[in-house]
């Protein structure tokens, strides 16, 4: 007979697996409920606007500052390599493509998870811990329609806007380094960029990515908050999980989306 302790790793593994699957299902269920009770958040759009303020507008500074630095670093690094091949004019293309296709949506989503996602999780978790969600239920108001759905749509609206801003500010940062600082020709910087950045393949695909990331990050943050045990420790753990799971989801989804976009 096998000793009980030998079986323990398997039991732990099994428990974790079922737990993960259970959470995935619960998350999907919340997503579905959010979608079908979204009518409320469109009928009374000021609820959503309010949340756009908290998730989007409040994230502006971190997004703009990060984008600026990312763009400048890209230009510096890109120039360093490109000038070896005598094509330093292509720096505009490099900066623009890197930002529009990848860094814009991905870095924005990561920053969003850290800035807005955690705030959402903590807020919902505390609302649950202080019985505010129960109180709403007892007032015959669905917390999903009144609390979850507006935050969801706010995130979905805010993310592409932030990602577009990130890309644009990053390109301006790259421009500042490349043209006045390094001395690349301004005309070449823009014209090469325009010749090689495609509206559909690059910009629209970047926007699609950011919308998908917006759905994923916001939903993860909402679910973690909604599912958090109503204790101080539970909320803090849920907040941490929001960042970890959102980041992994963004990077994983990025790979999947990119592979689809490149083959299509």
């Amino acid at each position: 007979m096998i000793k009980r302790s030998r079986l323990r790793p398997f039991r732990t593994l099994g428990h974790r697996t079922t737990d993960r699957i259970w959470r995935l299902g619960a998350g999907a269920r919340l997503f579905w409920l959010t979608l079908i009770s979204s009518g409320e958040s469109f009928r009374r759009f000021h609820l959503t606007i309010r949340e756009v303020y908290f998730t989007g507008v409040m994230s502006l500074i971190i997004i703009v500052v990060s984008a600026f630095f990312v763009g400048m670093v890209l230009a510096l690094q890109g120039y360093n390599t490109l000038q070896k091949y005598g094509s330093s004019e292509a720096i505009g293309v490099l900066v623009a493509l890197a930002l529009v296709r990848e860094l814009g949506p991905v870095v924005t989503a990561l920053l969003f998870a850290g800035r807005a996602g955690t705030a959402i999780t903590a807020e919902i978790g505390l609302m649950k811990a202080t019985e505010q969600l129960s109180a709403m239920e007892m007032m015959a108001v669905s917390p999903i329609a009144r609390v979850i759905a507006p935050r969801f749509w706010a995130g979905v609206i805010a993310m592409p806007v932030l990602a577009a801003l990130f890309s644009m500010v990053g390109i301006l940062g790259g421009y500042l380094v490349a043209v006045p600082l390094i001395g690349v020709d301004s005309g070449a910087f823009w014209s090469q960029m325009q010749a090689n950045v495609d509206w559909h393949d690059d910009i629209v695909n970047g926007v699609i990515k950011s919308v998908v990331f917006g759905v994923a990050c916001t939903m993860i943050a909402l679910f973690e908050g909604y599912d958090a045990p109503p204790t101080a420790e539970g909320v803090s753990r849920a907040t941490t999980r929001t960042v970890v799971i959102s980041s992994l989801a963004v990077l994983g989804l990025d790979f999947v989306l990119t592979s689809f976009m490149i083959t299509l």
Binding site: H46, Y53, V197, I203
Partner: protein
Amino acid sequence: MERTTIDLWVGIFVALGVAALLGLAMKVGNLTTSNIGITYTVTANFENIGGLKPRAPVKSAGVVVGRVGDIKFDTETFEAVVSLNVDKRYNFPKDTFANIYTAGLLGEQYIGLEAGGDEAMLKNGDKITQTQDAVVLEKMISQFLYNKASESTNDAPAATKSDSASSTKAADDALTASPLDAISKPVTP
């Protein structure tokens, strides 16, 4: 916070986002230049299109006049059938010549249209009959190497001959500048 203040900020936020997207479209992307309005489609057959891709530019005298639509393979003639979406504003004579060019040595491939002198103009659905295939680099290299190899076997006994020497040297010069150096090594005497 007052609702009006929030509304204002969100309004600014969304406006900034739209502005950024427009900036991306106009200043960064090629939406303005690729914005070809109404087009008409003509087809052209090529024996070899090389690396031509859908949405590649169609240029005439260096100006983008259209884009490549789809590319098909004709199983009867064993040729590539390329459809070109040309801007309605630009008309070309019936005997226009369609070439596949490469932008730079290794750049993307595009179609160049050279207008002929015919009175009649190309219409939607017409076919351009005069075409020139893509230059396939591998073919060119092998041809070049073949020529060179035959040259060097002919000239081997009298390598000092001034004309052959200069031609070999010119070829060598051309090759050392390119990464094809390694390929040419074995046949260089």
